[in-house]
Assembly symmetry: C3
Homo-oligomer: 330 residues x 3
């Protein structure tokens, strides 16, 4: 599977809510964070912000009434699946949940292009979760209707990266000038890779806090280096907590370590507690892509800086914006 | 898990259909039958009766248009899940079906409070089915949005008890003055326990018909005794059939018996046939929580006193009422 | 399970879109292709054609707003399930997806009649997929609400046959006078059996192209013979390609052959390539019920005669028509 990125078609920039076929992103696939420039992000986030205000004011509205989304999940992901479903339903649209692909004859032998072309006979937009890297690009290559990548294995999960960035924007007002510290498993976490790439479009400083064996990959550091982004690596967070505006935590999995003793020795450095928060700025935010399994203590939940539940809500608005955009309704 | 029961907030009693934030049950969790007094039941059943009339007149209506329900089932239950889904859809609302929790990363390690707080970022109300007793109370403790208990293992299944009672009310006009006979497995059936508790709010007589090893638990009998409810225990139904207004049947499972011969010896006493019905009152009703596996003969289905399919329909109205109430729309 | 076919109730023929209780097919079950005569098909296809035009013009519309479909699948079939769901949603109705029947207590011991009678307490129409022949007829026997057979094992899949025929009508304008060639596994494919039966209501010629061990069953050939349908059998397609108006391809499964060498020897004759298409008429269509696993080369997809993706779209319109008809809304 090759990394197909669909061409951009947008030429004008109008704000919601009209119904225009010449609108930016209309008919486009959302496959990779690489397809967005800073203007794209500004535009998407403006629409997402409008969505947020509309949901707060009226809960749901009929912008996508009559539109149907196929929510095609080759592997389960309750969080992402529910978020896209809610996004479509809050816009008055309908959803076809397809969660049983594993057991279905569709999966036994049928190619992904055939499955996607089948579904687009019925629906207006396809959200695809697939365990294989490149699956979304392959689907997009064959589909006439927009395909949105909801995670393709070791590949990307672009809507997660967009919602992470939108969270920062909504919580802190802007992205430029911030210091973002990523902590935990920075080697295997596709979330932090995609987010780092998006952040490189802004004027930010990045800190990477990880155990030696889970450091941020060299190629990503080189990529951001080339763009002039200041980056620093650490094995514990002490030195950087006081300067951090955004602390982005990911899970350190025991299974990554050959020697369990090695895991036991370091794990404490990657758990966020009220004590950690005491060393942090008054105006910072703590983020996590979830699920968490112990790496942020529940004692931190009541701290107003704990943004991870609000982060999910921002995900709803970003997905509402993307659905409206690719369907030409924003 | 502790038995958390949310505080009552209702102060006024107005009938449907307005949109009021000061309405009874608005924002409340439905966790246990213990949270209801007789006035509560009267109110819920008045709303459920309105729902019944509306469905008969127009099928569906848009009372909850724009509202979203997360139907979170940690164990499958087609009947309950479908009933809540239909209830929400008949009110014009949308549903996110979450049936795959077992396979999902959400279930692998993520705590129930985190899952519920995730979902409430997207939706307006959560229906929870969980194999562990206390799960609904735990979820309610963390949730900002209303949680409705759709069964928590050996705990409760309050909407089943409510629909059972509503069935009696709708079919026989009132509950006071009735003789209710519960038959079958009265030891392990949470259904009959919850129903007995609700019935103790009324002026009723209760008969328990069960094999020796499946008798109604002592503590429930004592609880009702303290409330002055006349109760009698029997091992067969002959003596009580003629005086029974409601015959509530539950399944006697072979697996409960150590000695299969013992099961074979008694099972006939707990199967309802046209012959059983011949001994019963002309104006009585036969109920069953379903599924049945032989304990009511299909030959009884055509008897107008066989109320078990209507019972499911009443369940739809009760769940419509509860959804409308906790969302402040009834 | 006996082959129950519900009586016809339609007496008048009016075209969409009113709301009439005296409409043809109102309240009927769709169990078997045998229940339709040629007038029925003409009527259904006129409604399906209206559905096609409406979808092209407005995408979705509210003909079945407030109606609920129970999509009851005892075995997974993403294609059929999604098609019915989209059909209901494009008509403004709601769907209860029931895909987990295998794991559910409903399936453990509960009879199909009880499950169907439970669901019809909540919904307006039931679509049933079941691995056992006769299941749909059995369900229809007990249901008060319309049941639509979405495949009952070795039995029938009537909506597939209807959509196949509708595809021919829409693509080629008429059915009379056409030569239809069925190719592949004609022995076990219930799709080709049902389609052959429906085609026998028209003035057509049929060619059967199959390996010796997968020939069209004698009883079907005899049935069509009795109706005066010209039929011819071949083992390869060369002789009939030039005269064929519709080439209907089904999969030849390796597992059907005792000797793998035998399979290898013949399989090439049942794979459609651009070379095959070069020998076919300019105005012909290539159909396949899907999924395909190699029997039509992807190189053929761009050929305008390749109708298999459009065929799925026609399936949407046929299912919209059937849902509207049995609910008395077309």
């Amino acid at each position: 599977m090759s990394a197909f990125v669909p061409p951009k078609r947008h030429t004008s920039r109008h704000l919601p809510f009209g119904d225009r076929r010449d609108a930016p992103f209309y008919g486009q696939h959302i496959v990779s964070v690489k397809q967005f420039d800073r203007d794209d992000l500004t535009y998407i986030f403006e629409v997402a912000h409008e969505m947020r205000e509309m949901v707060m004011r009226v809960g749901s509205f009929d912008l996508l009434k009559g539109k149907i989304l196929a929510n095609l999940f080759y592997e389960p992901s309750t969080r992402t699946s529910s978020s896209f479903t809610a996004a479509m339903e809050r816009l008055g649209g309908s959803v076809i949940p397809i969660n049983e692909v594993r057991y279905s004859s569709v999966s036994k032998g049928e190619s992904l292009p055939d499955t996607v072309r089948t579904l687009e006979s019925y629906v207006d937009v396809v959200v695809l979760r697939h365990p294989q890297k490149g699956a979304a690009a392959l689907a997009a290559q064959y589909a006439r209707k927009p395909v949105i990548n909801a995670g393709d294995g070791a590949g990307e999960h672009p809507t997660q990266a967009l919602l992470d960035l939108f969270t920062i924007r909504e919580e802190l007002g802007q992205v430029d000038g911030l210091t973002i510290t990523m902590l935990g498993d920075l080697k295997y976490g596709r979330t932090v890779h995609s987010l780092a790439r998006l952040l490189s479009l802004y004027d930010v400083r990045l800190n990477y806090v990880a155990p030696e064996i889970l450091r941020m990959p060299r190629e990503i550091i080189a990529e951001l280096e080339a763009k002039g982004i200041p980056q620093a690596e650490h094995t514990t967070s002490e030195a950087v907590l006081a300067e951090t505006d955004v602390l982005y935590v990911t899970r350190v999995q025991k299974e990554r370590f050959e020697d369990p003793a090695q895991y036991e020795a370091v794990k404490g450095s990657y758990v966020i507690t009220p004590e950690t928060m005491a060393q942090a700025k008054k105006r910072m935010i703590l983020m996590h892509p979830f699920p968490r399994v112990g790496e942020i203590s529940m004692d931190v939940d009541a701290d107003p800086r704990a943004a991870y539940f609000r982060q999910m809500e921002y995900g709803l608005y970003v997905r509402m914006a993307l659905l409206a955009l690719v369907l030409g309704k924003a």
